[in-house]
């Protein structure tokens, strides 16, 4: 489910925001394990994960980035955008089948360059899972900088 979805023809301005809910399933984990060949025990061995203080295996971070890809590619800035920079800092573990929510806020836009800067947070319940920043380029005519300094 996505809240705040914008029509693709609507211009982007600072303050725009979108929220997207997701759940990473056991099937997603299997598919990503096969795709990435990442055999880190923390993602595949529940006993090992418990030894390390987690209650179960934890979700691959890249699967959360896949959700960010959905938000960036479909919503902010949307299908006309080209991503140029992402950052992520993991704050706590996300578990398989645990509902999570990613919220992306537009922090700044540049009408001269078409650059859109965003900040996102991934949350599960009250827990902050990860946070970071995005930068995307879009056609300058898609920028609404009416709230920028005069």
């Amino acid at each position: 489910m996505t809240e705040g979805a914008r029509p693709s023809e609507q211009r982007i301005k600072a303050g725009d925001s979108v929220a997207h809910e997701f759940v990473i399933t056991p099937e997603d984990m299997v598919l990503f394990r096969r795709l990435s060949a990442d055999e880190s025990l923390i993602h595949i061995d529940a006993d090992y994960a418990r030894q390390r203080g987690y209650r179960d295996v934890i979700v691959y971070g890249a699967l959360m980035l896949a959700q960010l890809s959905h938000v960036v590619g479909q919503h902010i800035p949307g299908v006309l955008g080209v991503s140029v920079k992402w950052s992520i800092t993991y704050r706590s573990a996300l578990y398989v089948n645990e509902p999570a929510r990613i919220v992306l806020d537009v922090m700044a836009v540049s009408a001269a360059t078409g650059l859109v800067e965003g900040r996102y947070r991934i949350i599960s319940g009250e827990r902050l899972i990860a946070e970071g920043r995005t930068q995307s380029m879009i056609p300058v005519e898609m920028i609404d900088d009416s709230s920028a300094p005069d």
Binding site: V84, K85, A108, S110, A111, A112, T113, G114, L115, E117, Q135, M137, V140, D145, A148, P149, D150
Partner: protein, 83 residues
């Protein structure tokens, strides 16, 4: 804002963004002198300046800049007129 203060502020932003560059930051500096200063780096530098100095550039102004000195002059002109 005088040009010395502007170049000091720019050097701070410049070194933060292009952190592999260790040479001098002077008015004569061009994108050819800095490996990370490519077209995307230029956009990121302009946006960083807009945000930190509260300015707004046009696409044409950004396109016409030939070196750091011209950027300093542009910022000075904008701060002088409160643009």
């Amino acid at each position: 804002m005088n040009s010395e203060i502007i170049i000091q502020k720019l050097e701070e932003l410049f070194r933060d963004l292009f952190d592999d560059y260790t040479g001098p930051v002077t008015r004569e500096l061009t994108a050819d002198d800095v490996e990370e200063w490519d077209s995307l780096g230029h956009i990121q530098l302009m946006v960083l300046i807009e945000k930190t100095m509260g300015l707004r550039f046009s696409t044409e102004e950004i396109r016409q800049l030939k070196n750091l000195g011209e950027l300093v002059d542009l910022i000075q002109a904008k701060t002088a007129t409160g643009e």
